[in-house]
Chain length 208, copies 2
Amino acid sequence: MRESQTAESRPYHHGDLRRALVDAARRILEAEGPTALSLRAVAREAGVSPAAPYHHFKDKAELLDAIADEGWQMLDAAMAKAKAEAEPRGKLTALGIAYVCFARENPALYRVMYDAARDNEALPDQMQHGDDSAYCKVRDTMIELGADPTATVDLELATTAAWCAAHGLAEMAGFKQFEHLKQELGGEVPFLRAIFAHLGLFPHASHD
Amino acid sequence: MRESQTAESRPYHHGDLRRALVDAARRILEAEGPTALSLRAVAREAGVSPAAPYHHFKDKAELLDAIADEGWQMLDAAMAKAKAEAEPRGKLTALGIAYVCFARENPALYRVMYDAARDNEALPDQMQHGDDSAYCKVRDTMIELGADPTATVDLELATTAAWCAAHGLAEMAGFKQFEHLKQELGGEVPFLRAIFAHLGLFPHASHD
DNA sequence: CAAGATATCTTTACGTCGTCCAGATATCGA
DNA sequence: TCGATATCTGGACGACGTAAAGATATCTTG
């Protein structure tokens, strides 16, 4: 390996099949949804035989893990952007809205992310420890808004509570039952704000 | 049909294959998890050929819908019991705890319930309209606790917010990341109470 | 630069899956 | 009683995940 920087980069025959497979999977996911995401379809889309992926992933679950990983990175980025653009007192709400919007705009990817997490019975480690992770951003924002940084248990509870609320809302927001509420309130984002406003954790959810 | 009460009851050869299939599916779900739940396995477990289920269900999704339906009924029952046994001011918390405990004790069934809901892009209709549904119980409890029953939009928002929080928590509570928090707080239920206590919707979440 | 070691990819194959179809069989309605 | 109809079986098809064996390109070492 000439440049062994990312554990295994620059494969031999294809160029970078691992990359190509993840990209192909993401393309299928967006175009045809999660049910169409078979290993064989990914290999087909990447122009390679059905068995080729096994030289880069132990099995299908490992491919899904790789896709999910990219999803978490995208979520991190979306929430970083939202936090940066919000005024200080609206940052927590902005994070919540950004979280749900990401899930709503990438439903198939979001589903893969949590399916993988459930299979591993754990969220990705990087989420709790990587310092620019979405989770840590929520926690840090809590501190910026006045939470006691030394009350670690309480801080973790508050962050987890916010995460639960956002995830629950992300899954519910897709159901038809809530369409009339969205209409009543003038759109999806106002609906999300209204829900967050009912949960004590998101101060100033009612204005921008 | 001698007693055409439930749309189609009492089949011919088997006795009640539809019932037997749903029961077999539930048995597989509990014993081997959701990944083992194939139509063929269900037919096998029920002692019938792989094509037999097609006379009672259009396809696999319809079988899953039937299983999910029973799940919602079980959830209704669990929450009814919890509400009945709680003292008035603790009813809302009791409902939340019962919801999450049901999901935690029947993880495979809970997953089937929400997978089916996502496929239909809607929660079961009966949930919002059936008067003894879990959802309606939450809403009614809000009123009993002082919510204005004429502010229908606000009431729906509050109920939805609570539902989102409970669902989010139900999914998160299975992840390894939160085990040390549960330990710190002395068990799973105290952990759940602590999370609910951070959400404005669950008054008195900190004591029984 | 030669040549074996090694990593990558293809081909073929196996068992399982969801689903369909044709035939057998039991129940129902007249 | 007998035809209609509902229920179940057996066999088949294509797609899936994955394993094994062989072909091929790249790397390493002398």
